[in-house]
């Protein structure tokens, strides 16, 4: 089996659609990745530094509200109101950034890039948490993931490990080295959260060769991170742990904690053989099959090691393997991908979504994703969304997908396409006989389109 434009669009993109012709070769896919990020330019989403003033404002309003507690009801209500207004503004912004993320996926020329953005954003799950960061989850993807999608794994790892949303999510601003003055005075303590997750989830993998001692030493190495007034991550040696730390048998640093020592450790972790194996397995599992062909995993792993984590070379190894082109669809689309590929097949533009009222958008998109089990930006933990089809095709999850397929399309686009044509637009030659039959036999256009989107062929890739 080798390159197949339909499989390329479905398995490595957001599916088929009337707007753009599918990519015609793996070279074309990789060339597009090496080129400019036109989708981000078309639908911009700000990075962390750009939105940091919003955090400062929320923080200020929160402080004002606390101060107003002693000043009587009128003052408190006014302060409360100001905070609520700001929060409403932030919710609007967050919804707009979600919409841009969705439209980038559904309207993209280079859909492989958008799939990789989702893959890496999930690999390095950083949830915007707490009442200040909760709106800013997308800034992590913009700053730490997108710029490195066709670069080196080490650079993405370093960007992820030093991004304010990640540092805050995994409690690094609150961490201090075990032997730091702060810890000795009892003001702070070492927090292992980020150290553990970098080893367990981002690099070596849970089966990797590290111990609790490595976790602790690595956490001590990371302990100096702070947030600067500019909204960039800083490194405060007083918060770090004095002295050298031994991680996986190698000593980092000397006396005063330095960010360079952290970077050296991250470089070493990025090129570790356990990391290569872990990333290879995750890529194959995300794109090809819940239980991928071991030979496919080995091929990706070798490319990762041989290229020192050059990601385009890694993707090329995946795309060069025959298992990547099997016409047996072995993955279930996650809800976001299902909705994005439906919008793509139905040719619903960003402008069309934008003209909807916030209530309608919430209903059709954010609310529906929640019902399907994938609330936007809110996986249950740092290990991200599950890959296994069984987590998604539950009775209530499948019902939500079918219900969406039957009710959302006619609201999103009028007139609805003729199901007999739409089955080919959406599935090409992947449509099975019963789905082709259902497209012809449907009593109404709405039901025909709904059944095509609900078909196992469309739900899978």
């Amino acid at each position: 089996m080798s390159f197949d434009p339909e499989i390329a669009a479905v398995r490595f993109g957001f599916g088929l659609g009337p707007r753009s012709a599918p990519v015609q070769s793996t070279t074309g896919m990789l060339e597009a990745l090496r080129g400019a990020d036109t989708q981000a330019a078309m639908l911009p989403i700000p990075g962390f530094v750009e939105t940091y003033p919003d955090i400062l404002e929320i923080r200020g309003l929160g402080r004002a509200r606390r101060a107003a507690k002693d000043k009587g009801k009128t003052d408190f209500d006014a302060a409360q109101k100001a905070l609520q207004v700001k929060r409403r503004e932030m919710r609007r912004k967050r919804n707009a950034w979600f919409l841009a993320s969705l439209s980038r996926a559904s309207m993209a020329e280079d859909t492989f890039r958008e799939r990789l953005v989702r893959f890496w954003s999930d690999h390095f799950t950083a949830i915007g948490k707490g009442n200040q960061f909760e709106y800013l989850g997308t800034t992590f993807t913009e700053d730490a993931i997108r710029p490195h999608i066709a670069g080196r794994f080490a650079d993405m790892l370093k960007a992820s490990s030093t991004h304010p949303v990640m540092l805050y999510y995994l409690d690094q601003f609150a961490s201090a080295g075990e032997n730091s003055k702060l810890a000795q005075k009892g003001k702070r303590s070492l927090n292992e959260n980020l150290g553990r997750e970098i080893l367990e989830l981002h690099t070596l993998g849970v089966e990797g060769g590290y111990t609790q001692t490595d976790v602790r030493a690595f956490a001590n190495l990371l302990a100096g991170f702070t947030l600067k007034k500019t909204g960039k991550a800083g490194f405060d040696h007083k918060k770090g742990n004095p002295g050298a730390e031994t991680v996986l048998g190698k000593s980092y640093g000397t006396t005063t904690p330095r960010v360079e020592d952290v970077m050296e450790a991250l470089d070493d972790l990025a090129r570790h053989p356990d990391t290569a194996r872990h990333i290879a397995r995750k890529l194959a599992t995300h794109f090809v099959a819940d239980t991928p062909d071991p030979d496919l995993v080995a091929q990706i792993e070798q490319a990762f090691l041989a290229s020192d984590g050059d990601l385009v070379t890694v993707y090329e190894a995946m795309l060069d393997h025959p298992a990547a082109w099997s016409r047996d669809l072995q993955k279930v689309k996650q809800p976001f991908d299902f909705v994005a590929s439906s919008l793509r097949a139905l040719d619903v533009s960003h402008e069309a979504l934008e003209t909807r009222t916030p209530k309608e958008r919430n209903l059709m998109l954010l609310g529906s994703l929640k019902l399907m089990g994938q609330a936007w930006g809110r996986p249950s933990g740092p290990d991200g969304w599950p890959e296994d089809a069984r987590n998604w095709i539950t009775p209530q999850g499948l019902a939500a997908r079918i219900q969406w397929s039957m009710t959302a399309p006619p609201v999103l686009t009028t007139p609805l396409p003729d199901p007999r044509e739409f089955v080919t637009t959406a599935l090409g030659s992947l449509a099975g006989d019963t789905t082709l039959f259902a497209a012809r036999a449907a009593e109404t256009r709405t039901e025909g389109v709904g059944m095509i989107l609900s078909s196992p062929e469309f739900q899978k890739r």
């Binding site: 606390r66 609310g367 740092p382 290990d383 539950t394 009775p395 209530q396 999850g397 259902a438």
Partner: protein, 408 residues
Amino acid sequence: MTVQSPPTRRQFLARAGALGCSLAACPLMTPISLAATPGDHRLVVIILRGGMDGLDLVRPVGDPAFAGLRPTILGDKKGLPLDGFYELHPSAKGLHQLWTQGELSFAHAVSTPYRDKRSHFDGQDILEAGVGKDGRISDGWLNRLVQTMPEAQLRTALAVGREDLLILNGTAQTTGWSPEASLTLSPATQVLLERMHKSDPLFSVSLHEAIDLAKRLDNSQDPDDTDDPQQMMMQSVQAANRRGGIEAIAKFTADMMQEDTRIASFSITGWDTHVSQAGSFAGSVRKLQAAIMTLKSELGDLWGKTTVMAMTEFGRTVRQNGSRGTDHGTGGAVVMAGGALRGETVHGTWPGLDEADLYQRRDLMPTADIRLYAASAMQGLFGLDKSELEQTIFPGLDISDGLPSILL
């Protein structure tokens, strides 16, 4: 702490897929079992997310320090009398009636083994996984309960609501449904969909369950059919909102328990009362009360065989804070209801509220592991033995001092 990606609670589908058996040929996948299910008792676990303030629900008014710690957040209404030492929150009139009927009890000053970090995330994981302080979070204790039942069926255990419940996740087969989910299909479309999904066991079983479970909900309040898609979309969401309510969740749970379901779980949020607790806490108490009262009325005679336990990840600080609320604490309370309960009892050892009696001088000192109460329920309802309880269900739990006697 890392939340391990748990094995799905619908593991049976994997088995079905691996065996490649068709719906008709695979006995595991027949959604409605004809065989008898394990025993006749029912257990409902309600997870109270956010840290329920046990001191506000079950007020230790007999402790001389209590009134001074909570000068302004208890509201003007007087609590409802329990046993002289404790009073019940004034909004819980329905629950109080259950108390006088001998169908309600509490345990006070209990907690999970989780300490100090007071994170909702970690606290709920430890509560649902049923493990010790540093235990591995991988599956839930209700799932492990199902694993001890050789005759368990697909619908023996049920998760209700949209969210995935860790407490029911694991290798045993269980099912789930959310009353807010709807599936309105014309008969012709349903036939076509079933035909399309037939070749894929995962889709086929889920579709079968979805169609069957969706039909059970009372749709009489739903508006008439409309051909306008905009209307349809709006109606389906309005219906979701109506059915997302706690009464709908409890009613659906009870309906399922009338048949094969023996174990069910759902959650109630809204307990994280940092600010203006008096108002928001009363609202959440009414939700919990509605859930319990709905279960009782819908279960009818089966109420006599049912035990409901409402548990939370941690209690709250004993002192009210500067914004008329309370912050994350440690010791808290469990609510137990049911027809087979030893009612009118507040179980537990009261640690006192003097500063020296508190945990870290701020929280109610836990005097018992919350898991002892759940273990007692499982022993009484399903006949689990000591080693199953200490090793399988709650690894590391020490029950050598015996279990509290919560059932009649």
